[in-house]
Amino acid sequence: MTTSRFGLIQNDRAGRWFLGCLLLVGLLVPVLNLGVPEDSAFHFSTYSVTLLGKYLTYALLAIAADLVWGYLGILSLGHAAFFSLGGYAMGMYLMRQIGDRGVYGDPVLPDFMVFLNWHELPWFWQGFDMFWFAMLMVLVVPGLLAYAFGFLAFRSRVSGVYLSIITQALTYALMLAFFRNEMGFGGNNGLTDFKDLLGFSLREDSTRIALFMASALALGLGYLACRYIVGSRLGLACIAIRDAESRTRFIGYRVENVKLWVFTFSAMLAGIAGALYVPQVGIINPSEFSPLNSIELIIWVAVGGRATLYGAVIGALLVNYSKSYLTAALPDIWLFALGALFVLVTMYLPKGIAGLAKRREASA
């Protein structure tokens, strides 16, 4: 293998395109927002920056899901759970940053705890005032849950539809749990009212731009990491498992180990996406765990085309853009459109948009 500057993506033309576009957008958008005066036609509003940043975190989540669904054949209907857990870890850090600026002015306790008449911080909130610890938890909590869940599920060879259903049950159980006030995560209202991140106010345009660029960077790195895994021997084993699990096992691969590590990695990626999502949106609440979100995420991947990674990004951006547009313009149509998308894509477009592009390429 020749080591060129593009080592990882030298055989990945679409990937190069995608990373190029990402780089362009990542640099151009800040310039258009900060450098161009507001009355200019080329000005990119801060609202749009945040919106685009949100889409980028969704795209990262979609890549994580594509890694396990496209390459490993595991249809996880619980990836929103890992996303939300990462988000909650970030949210807890942001809550602690509020300090005594909350409504009740308690220097340590977040508002909802004062409201619930709690007198000290629960043990699982300790340490979240430190940024590094919170970032560690963004990775560790989803990773651990995925590891524990995968350890049990893959070892007992729960697969296919059964796995999908129990991942759905997992996120459903988490949603119910986080809705409870006693859990100590703000119950129904979740965590919100954030003030600043690392000392930078979340209301500042510059902070929003920085978050946007961080999201773009994370997406790019996430893509490269997934591409690396997919291109490695581990990736080949994944594809083998997807296509013929028993045969791979008989050849001598430890199928459950491969599944477990890739699944855990994917969950951590989802956690990062969640952590970037929360400061941009400004709230995290239990409805993020809802099974509907996890399934919606799968349709992003399906629309874009599974087992391509960049397809997941396209799907996430496209579906979410249409969602933002339709829910505002024609709220009644959105669910019809989403439902039809599910049906049509699975029936007539099994390889998604990326598949269409490939087909044209092949015929040309």
Binding site: V161, S164, I165, A169, Y172, R180, G339, V343
Partner: protein, 556 residues
């Protein structure tokens, strides 16, 4: 008016022919009824019914002695208003208009005084009590009123009213009333009422009676479950230590029985919740269990069934009870046809690709939800519960089993029986099983497998619709009805063992009972979470559920 009289006369004629001996009595009864009916009508124009008019009028006057006589006269005649009037009087809620001397029942609410006439529908709302005066009573009258009321109610033909009267006395005992109870207990026909009366008298004995009777009274109370009996035993003190020990024993015995009944109650609640779960899962047990199709729109098919109930009830508002019975086949047909349409239109193209089926049917579920939202509005609709489903079967003081829960259990079992009969006894069932076990072989034998697929899916969908009828009676009917049941249904099917209908029933009932057992100490939400976690762990241990299919069919 004349019609009523006419009917009375007709009644009399028949009575005359059949039982001559009763003529006099019937005449008297007829006369009283007719005059009461007439009086009720006439009350609108003058101040009170004519026969008892004087007695009613006396109540508005000042003399307590005359009032007492009037009360006795009224209680003796016992016109329909008696109980209401005497109660109102006792509670100081009986008023009369100063000008017309008519009697009103006064109630307060929202800072307003509401005067509703005793004899007709007239209602007056006022900010102040001006123009009306309370019918005053003294302690003597109060005793008389209580006694008359107890006597009237204890002498009522309806055992329920008698029981209510005795229970009332248990709360606030009254010597005069106890005297009546003592005289009536021997002739009491109803067992329940007799027991309550015995407990009432035993409590009185413990408080005031001779110490030699105490032992017997404690033994009587031992059989009772009412809080009053327990309180009496708790606060019982006696110089005789033996008797106190007996009382303690009795309390223990009562507590033991109470906890036994509460176990029965929990199980019953659990079974009814489990029936709902099982009912929701039955349709899925066919489509998922037998056909292997993941139908995420299953919940929405239930929703369609529930909305069908709502529509049927809107079409026939006069016959609520009947509408439910009509709704069952209607929901089956509607949901079944939607199911067949889904199968023919979408699922047929996706056989052998279960994950894609999951996504496509999820899309269908979103479309159906939004369709219902557009047609019926996003607001919840309520389906009226028919008369015969409300109320409860009061087994004793601590155990009451509500009818609607009872019906849902029976309904679930009936649907299950019917389904198992279809699967085991009909040729459709035979073909369904054949196709699910070995499609190619079945086709080679001449089974039209695609036709069977469509019908099977239609059957599953139709049963989901029937489940929707059941659900519509328990919860609000809204676009999200299905969503809240889909995960539970899948859990039940997977837990029971895919492809095993009986397993689904057992799993549903078992999970329902487990949920209700945990609820008292864990709370409803936590109980549900624990059940979910339990199932997730259970599937790791036994991926094929409680009752896995064995043999070749299992690998299909």
């Amino acid at each position: 008016m004349t019609q009523i009289k006419y009917l009375q006369i007709a009644d009399l004629n028949i009575a005359h022919r059949i039982r001559r001996v009763l003529i006099a009595v019937s005449l008297l009864l007829g006369l009283v009824a007719a005059t009461t009916a007439y009086a009720t009508e006439a009350g609108a124009s003058d101040s009170g019914p004519s026969v008892l008019g004087d007695a009613w009028q006396t109540l508005t006057k000042g003399n307590y002695k005359q009032k007492a006589d009037a009360i006795q006269a009224i209680a003796k005649q016992n016109p329909p208003q008696t109980v209401a009037v005497l109660k109102a009087m006792l509670q100081g809620e009986l008023y009369y208009a100063k000008k017309t001397k008519r009697l009103y029942h006064m109630s307060e609410g929202d800072g307003q005084y509401r005067f509703s006439s005793i004899f007709d529908d007239e209602v007056v709302m006022q900010n102040r009590k001006r123009g009306y005066r309370k019918v005053k009573i003294n302690n003597n009258l109060r005793g008389l009123l209580r006694q008359s009321l107890a006597g009237l109610q204890l002498g009522n033909k309806d055992a329920k009213v008698r029981l209510a009267a005795v229970n009332e006395l248990l709360k606030s005992p009254d010597d005069d009333a106890l005297q009546i109870v003592r005289s009536r207990i021997a002739n009491e026909a109803d067992e329940g009422v007799k027991h309550a009366m015995a407990a009432l008298l035993a409590i009185d004995t413990l408080l005031k009676g001779d110490i030699t009777d105490h032992s017997e009274a404690i033994a009587t109370l031992r059989e009772s479950l009412s809080p009053a009996a327990i309180n009496a035993l708790r606060s019982y003190h006696s110089p005789d230590k033996q008797l106190e020990a007996e009382a303690q024993q009795a309390i223990k015995s009562i507590d033991a029985r109470k906890s036994w009944y509460s176990i029965i109650e929990t199980t019953f609640f659990g079974l009814s919740l489990g029936s709902v779960l099982a009912l929701a899962a039955i349709g899925l047990a066919i489509t998922f269990g037998v056909m292997g199709v993941i139908n995420m729109a299953h919940g929405e098919l239930m929703m369609i069934g529930a909305y069908t109930t709502f529509v049927v009830q809107t079409l026939m508002p006069e016959h609520i009870g009947l509408s439910i019975l009509v709704a069952i086949p209607a929901a089956f047909v509607v949901a079944g046809s939607v199911g067949i349409a889904i199968e023919r239109g979408i699922i047929r193209h996706l056989y052998g690709r279960p994950l894609e089926t999951l996504l496509a049917t999820f899309g269908v579920s979103l479309i159906l939800q939004q369709a219902v939202r557009s047609i019926f509005s996003p607001l919840n609709r309520t389906v009226e519960t028919p008369q015969w489903m409300s109320g409860a079967w009061q087994v004793n003081e601590v155990l009451a089993l509500t009818w609607n829960r009872m019906y849902i259990i029976l309904f679930c079992l009936a649907v299950f029986m019917a389904l198992i009969a279809i699967m085991k006894r009909t040729s459709l069932g035979l073909q369904v099983r054949a196709v699910s076990q070995n499609r190619n072989m079945a086709r080679a034998m001449g089974v039209r497998s695609d036709w069977v697929d469509a019908l099977t899916f239609g059957l599953g969908a139709g049963i989901a619709g029937i489940a929707g009828v059941g659900l519509s009676l328990l919860t609000n009917v809204g676009p999200n009805l299905g969503q809240s049941y889909i995960i539970d249904s899948f859990m039940v099917v997977v837990f029971g063992g895919v492809g095993n209908l009986l397993g689904t029933l057992v799993a549903g009932l078992g999970l329902g009972v487990a949920n209700k057992i945990m609820e008292p100490w864990a709370g409803a939400v936590l109980a549900k979470i624990l059940v979910l976690i339990f199932i997730i762990l259970f599937i790791q241990k036994r991926p094929r559920g409680l009752f896995p299919q064995r043999g070749r069919a299992a690998e299909g």
